[in-house]
Amino acid sequence: MFRMFLRRLGLGLATIAIVSVIIFVGIEVLPGDACTAFLEREAKGKLLENCRAGLGLDRPAAERYVSWAIAALQGDFGVSANGQERIADLVGARLGNSLLLAFCALALGVPLAVLLGVIAGLWRDRPLDLVVSTGAILAMTIPEFVSATLLILVFSVWLGWLPGIVLTPADAPLWDFFPEILLPVIVLAMVMTAHILRMVRTSMIEVLSSDYVQMATLKGVPYWTMVFRHALPNALLPAINVVALTIAWLLGGVVVVEVVFNYPGLGRMMVDSISDRDLPVVQAIAIILAAVYVGVNLSADLLSMVANPRLRTAHARR
């Protein structure tokens, strides 16, 4: 098992390395660089040359990649092209805010998803399941900006219960974001819940029809003991990986939600820096998001292996 985990870890690190190369090459190939973005219309002749020399952009690409990668490994992503601020400081506060958003959405979404998924699985094809499953399809297919706009219209404009926009500055302490954070959390939790509950429902149905659950029922195990002791633990195993994928989606795909609610997280910073063509910042955010994606999936794999001995053999490789 340890060797398998090492293998996964190695693959994950290789993936991050490839991501960094893709991003670097991509930025290299696309027209424009940090200097043309910074100088805008004056980007020509001597001024452009001086700026490039100042940022070290006149060195060969391979050399710049290596020095960037070495610095990035030490947590130093250089300075932003526009404000000339340290990117690590800029990104740090935003990452914390995004993590807060993600954590709240998870804390709300995962228990809800398990509850609803089990209910839908136990009462398969009954009215209750139809309501839950249809709700899940609605929640996971409607674009986030649509559900966000509707929630703002209902809860903020018409009812006036919750603030519809976040006004707290990016570097404020985390508890300052309540209650402004509630609506964005609900929007995110809706999508997550839908994806996870569908998985839980499917595996619940699968487990309930398996031989050992039938056996337990025939032996006379009380229904709810069968559900909670025998069926549920196995039904939740496949959900671990879906949760991991939704966490990764949470950190990257929340961009729209952050923009709608004006939430000062990593996603909004990403959109802003791409529009400003602040390439060093884009590069840093991309690497961080890729690392989070790999890390979360790796933890999910490890957790699944700990929870499910069948995955520990070499045959179980996906």
Binding site: I16, T141, L245, T246, M270
Partner: protein, 296 residues
């Protein structure tokens, strides 16, 4: 799934396609989904003849008016008729995603089948690159290209087709791996068929089911991406009506004029829900489990 495809070799036959359509339509979700999708397609085709007003005609005497006999859904902040704009707001989205989806499924599917069959070192490396692309959020990849090359249809179609084809590679490769070790592929190899002919005659018919479900789902995700991009101001450029853009514009006025938001919200949601219900019914009809797909 494999048995079915074995007995009906060449699953692309018109008879089977018709049977599949009937199967989808006989399921409640499929019936509703197909109705919604065909309604939207018809609207996209004929809305210019149905719309009571010109979508870009402004009227400074009737801005943000409530629904009335003259303007059934009211007007927006420039005095444009919301009904006319909503009716035509899906044309661009359907055009772009309607071209980009088949292209994405085609190139991703073919590459996936090819490397699923070929295997080896190149396949290993390619899968790492695919993984690397999947690590990055879609919006980052797309925005970087759009900011560089502009927001027109001629940029959006290839961009969407490229990035949404990458996950298809992985799906097609996995589906190919499921059949490539079976006897009929070995038999074709032993008969001395070329790799291309094995791909076309043995693998494609078996992977087609998976690709169809994948295509339907990609379509809905692409629409989601497209409308989100327009909402953020990186998609369709004004004054072309587009639901995402309309929602973004009307948001500022929704406290006293909610129709500008509600009309495009209903239109966009009904299309995406329709596609998803159809995809669900298609997956059930083909016996493929959709719940295990995560939002990549």
């Amino acid at each position: 799934m494999v048995d079915l495809a074995l007995t009906t070799k060449g699953s692309a036959r018109p008879g089977r396609a018709w049977a599949l359509l009937v199967d989808i339509a006989s399921r409640p979700s499929g019936a509703i989904g197909l109705t919604l999708v065909s309604l939207q397609l018809l609207l996209a085709l004929f809305s210019p003849y149905l719309a009571p007003y010109d979508y870009k005609a402004t009227d400074s005497t009737a801005m943000l008016v409530d629904p009335s006999a003259a303007h059934w859904l009211g007007t927006d902040h420039l005095g444009r008729d919301i009904l006319s704009r909503t009716l035509q707001g899906g044309r661009e989205a359907l055009l772009v995603t309607g071209i980009a989806t088949p292209v994405a499924v085609l190139w991703g599917g073919l590459l996936g089948i090819f490397f699923g069959l070929a295997g080896g070192r190149v396949d290993e490396v390619l899968m790492r690159v695919v993984d690397a692309f999947l690590c990055l959020p879609w919006i980052l990849k797309m925005l970087v290209l759009i900011v560089t090359f502009g927001t027109g249809v001629e940029v959006l179609i290839p961009t969407l087709a490229f990035f949404y084809g990458i996950p298809v590679i992985r799906i097609a490769r996995a589906a190919t791996h499921d059949v490539v070790a079976l006897d009929f592929v070995s038999a074709a190899r032993a008969r001395g068929h070329s790799r291309l002919s094995i791909m076309r005659r043995e693998l494609l018919p078996n992977v087609l089911d998976v690709l169809m479900v994948e295509g339907a789902m990609r379509w809905s995700w692409m629409l989601l991406a497209f409308s989100s991009l327009s909402f953020l101001g990186f998609g369709v450029s004004p004054p072309t009506p587009d639901w995402g853009l309309m929602i973004a514009d009307a948001r500022s006025y929704m406290s006293f004029s909610p129709w500008g938001v509600l009309a495009p919200v209903l239109a966009l949601s009904s299309l995406i829900i329709g596609i998803n219900l159809t995809a669900d019914a298609l997956a059930k009809a083909l016996g493929i489990d959709r719940a295990q797909k995560a939002p990549v």
